[in-house]
Symmetry: D2
Amino acid sequence: MKRIAILTGGGDAPGLNAVIRAAVKIAINEYGCEVIGVRHGYDGFIEPDGLMVLDIASVRGILQRGGTILGAANRGNPFARKTIRDGEEIVEDVSDQCVAAIEKLKLDAVIVVGGDGTLKIGRELYAKGVPIVGVPKTIDNDVAGTEVTFGFDTALNIAMEALDRLHTTAESHHRVMILELMGRDAGFIALHAGVAGGADIILIPEIPFRYEKICEKVQERISSGSKFSMVAVSEGAQPEGGQQVFARGGDEVFVARLGGIGQAVGKFVESACGAETRVTVLGHIQRGGTPTAFDRWLATRYGGGAVRLAAEGRFGRMVALQDAKVIDVGLDEVLAQPKRVDVEGDAIRTARGLGISFGD
Amino acid sequence: MKRIAILTGGGDAPGLNAVIRAAVKIAINEYGCEVIGVRHGYDGFIEPDGLMVLDIASVRGILQRGGTILGAANRGNPFARKTIRDGEEIVEDVSDQCVAAIEKLKLDAVIVVGGDGTLKIGRELYAKGVPIVGVPKTIDNDVAGTEVTFGFDTALNIAMEALDRLHTTAESHHRVMILELMGRDAGFIALHAGVAGGADIILIPEIPFRYEKICEKVQERISSGSKFSMVAVSEGAQPEGGQQVFARGGDEVFVARLGGIGQAVGKFVESACGAETRVTVLGHIQRGGTPTAFDRWLATRYGGGAVRLAAEGRFGRMVALQDAKVIDVGLDEVLAQPKRVDVEGDAIRTARGLGISFGD
Amino acid sequence: MKRIAILTGGGDAPGLNAVIRAAVKIAINEYGCEVIGVRHGYDGFIEPDGLMVLDIASVRGILQRGGTILGAANRGNPFARKTIRDGEEIVEDVSDQCVAAIEKLKLDAVIVVGGDGTLKIGRELYAKGVPIVGVPKTIDNDVAGTEVTFGFDTALNIAMEALDRLHTTAESHHRVMILELMGRDAGFIALHAGVAGGADIILIPEIPFRYEKICEKVQERISSGSKFSMVAVSEGAQPEGGQQVFARGGDEVFVARLGGIGQAVGKFVESACGAETRVTVLGHIQRGGTPTAFDRWLATRYGGGAVRLAAEGRFGRMVALQDAKVIDVGLDEVLAQPKRVDVEGDAIRTARGLGISFGD
Amino acid sequence: MKRIAILTGGGDAPGLNAVIRAAVKIAINEYGCEVIGVRHGYDGFIEPDGLMVLDIASVRGILQRGGTILGAANRGNPFARKTIRDGEEIVEDVSDQCVAAIEKLKLDAVIVVGGDGTLKIGRELYAKGVPIVGVPKTIDNDVAGTEVTFGFDTALNIAMEALDRLHTTAESHHRVMILELMGRDAGFIALHAGVAGGADIILIPEIPFRYEKICEKVQERISSGSKFSMVAVSEGAQPEGGQQVFARGGDEVFVARLGGIGQAVGKFVESACGAETRVTVLGHIQRGGTPTAFDRWLATRYGGGAVRLAAEGRFGRMVALQDAKVIDVGLDEVLAQPKRVDVEGDAIRTARGLGISFGD
């Protein structure tokens, strides 16, 4: 193995730099291999200024830092690349150009660090003969084939600390505090952070909720002397059947959707449950900044694991965590179906046992 | 001094419990005095279950905790108390009832911990003969007569940590990150956290901004190679003259105000500056949770200082911080005018010198 | 299942309260079961004031708190209980008395939360007919049969943050910074935190080190332009063959062991490597305070899992984590051999690939 | 003003980089001035490779980072510079060489950032005609003439968080927890962090303590039902008259001084008070890592203030904080006497009122 490349794709996740650093150090120290950094995702292969040599000095001091020194994709997908020509957006398949560029570089392996989207492109390039090795990245924990990946633990801790802070005010000021968290399709962040942060109600995409159930829980708590409630909501949580109206006594309350789902739930609770409510939208704070110990550790092991997969010629595969060990799985298997919260599983059962309502 | 009371009013601020703890311990240990806790602000004097005895055991373990063990006001102002009678909201002056209750308790002093609103009521009760001692509380730092008060430092650190996290993503993903912070009338949180967190643009209520100036700064940075910008916005920041339209070339871009000002700025930047933008609204996370060392220290000294003011019979006054010492000032002086960011002062000048734009 | 008991034994670990809270809530909410809290470990069964009823209210607000509301053992082991009689220490087997007390309480299960020591006693009581269910607790991560247990993640993050802080000073002031971490027999904390915190040298009990190898690494780094080094040391790390003397040129440098191993390494580095050195001993800071999201989540699931094991009558077993699921394993299997760092495993190999020296 | 230089001296303090960044940005943006960075303290003037140009790019991304990009002194004092010649250490006055180098650089000002030692050298150089402007730096808060300086607030928060973590273990495991903190001559860190972290006993250099008084407090707490105690000790705390022996009943207990004073107090408490004790020495963790909001804010304002002092030709003076404003004071006044805890002041009185023992 003489020369490998590494790229990062998609949204930010704490630990990307730790993967890059470990891959570079281990490729150089263990294999005496040259490492090329590809900037802005797959774009780097076909754009000017898209490549940089990564030596030991270039990865110094980045372990602790969020973001990625390689940048992320602008237009991203070489199979459907968007460009503006004569004022119009054009979508082109430039994958052959990309493959040609890779061949010209005489790369023994291309390590792609990314979520479902980035890994899918990787699989298609692999089908075209590119020696792809994948590293899963998702703060949402929605990549299959691995117990967990880096970024998720950092996001959880940030979300939990937010809940902790909201908790004391909720309690002394008798408020319903709503915290909207990331998770468009998978509710892992809201579920784990909600349980860890003592939420009373957790709304996730996997379990459609009914607005009136939220009210029931808030009022059940008030009746039992707890004049406050904590609500963790995934950004992708949805009312059952797109519920827009809530009936109370003879009245109907229309549930407007202003801003995100957090705002919608907030407006509903304030108007229909008669409880003072505050909404916080954590947004990108969950994606940035220094990674936790677990995320640095896992990202580092993934970086090393990816280089070894490359050295062993096991392409079209992805590093994964299983039973505290770094293993590898085929990209086909990983991409067959995304990971979602198991609504019948032990975690949800435990949460329900704690008295948490999922609004269903 | 045989018996004093203490109450907390208004929104939450980290350090309230530290004030209560110090006041109780010092009143008992130094003066052998009984302490009555008044629950839910001034309401506690006239509502059932509104009073509790505070002994040493009752304040154990609360130094580290956000919120207030006394709770905050529900309807608050005894001079204009809102109640629902026969389905209608009625506003009554129940201050005499409140004064009578205080007299019946034979209190040597009433320590009121709160912001402008709570302190104003305190001054009015003082005019009616109640032996009031004030303790300033505001996370916004908008109470005059004191260098600073508790809660502000905690809020700043939370806001700055959010900026730190957003920073790394902004940088690697070429984003404009907008963070909406508390501060309806005073921009201290956005100013201090913005400077401490490396913001490029800070929008505060004291300096009306122009939307196009934000664009100018974002594009100036892009031109100089920094393809990202960090924006800290006070919730009370306002465009000059209520500016709703931004002219660009021959076009006009309408600036809708959806959600708060953070959202408005975000939508503008995305549409008019052509930069990918993300908005975070920190909300009540700034008000809750464990206080910083400075806030615990100051709140503790305020609690002790208030008891001593009471013991010396210096009523109608408020504890304050000046030159690292706890002093006291008259409530009249404090309430004469609220504190605002000095737009000609050294802090703003330093911020401008750093290259920060205030959108003016 | 009508009545169960729960106790915590041994040293502190962040998450103990989360286990208790989950067990109590789930036993009551799901099984309608009464829960008895046993204070001060097994001692609570035979001492006055040793039992308390745990209802929902009694576990309110403890999720976020370090420590254990049940306290830990004073004299601990009922099979070898130490008491002072007539000025002399006596060791007695009071296990029958303990068993009798448990029988009298008509307990359907006894949940014991603890490390190797506490679990061993549990197994012996189980052999005497007590319906024991175990929950592993160790910040050192040295309990077998489970991927990991609660407390370890919190310890890692505290240790890593310490390394992060030491790092910047080391770098700008050209220092060798030594951080002594917990881990008497197992080096997991130093290994994981060291990798996550960018340590250059990691010394663990599983790999005997040679003093001169430390010097070699420090000087190799100086030669390559890095005038500082970061060292993470397990408290149980040992020089090879009890090495007391280090030969340099014609001289011999005697390595005194003052204070812990951290101090010894520090004195050696300062005298023999000619590098300014600072030593920090983190101590019990690693064991206390609020748990991380992972530890709260795992502890909560363990609490729920233990109650279910009890309900299913699966005694003499312990809850464990495997492939992100809570499973259970027999105490015999768990206690057969303690968990240690696999010195031939992938984690150590990755660390070596990064250039980290283990002093061997 | 065409060209200024800046140097940092002495131990690390969070905020050094923020001072450098602000000074560089404001000198360039406001005054169009060139800035020279002097490396390794005053040494940089006379050593090869000792100077670097600081432009805007060179200070990018350092606001959040601990340490100093300029490094700190190796041998430091040009009035008494230590060198090794022919195997022997020689002390020389090279101040004239230093002054000559400064003159040759045609500097309009030299900004020196440091504690008492660095500022004293600055004053001596000023007496020789060098246009010195000082910026106070001390995590111990022992520089006179200013309310506070940067670094102290960060140190306090780190120390307080350590106390918070130790607290929960102390409480549930009935321990005496001793935390040794920085402060050789001034006890501000132990005093402020101790009060903020709920310490029961605080030992500082300004108040000589008696060992038996520690025991009294620990036992008074046990008697009143609090079976644990928290002790914050300055590294420079001293027993009264160098007390080495503690008399109890007919016995004498010899107090060995092994390790620091924290260890000595720990050994005493364990042997003489019969309480299980644990000692933590925080060490350099207090000096490094990312600064708090206050420290970044103050350091930034100091950087700007120093440049303005330079522009106004106000040499031989130091920036300072008074009543939340940046002012300036003469170095003579600053260095006339160091700042110490006022043992008769309001802060100590408040601490005593809380029930805290100072061992006197």
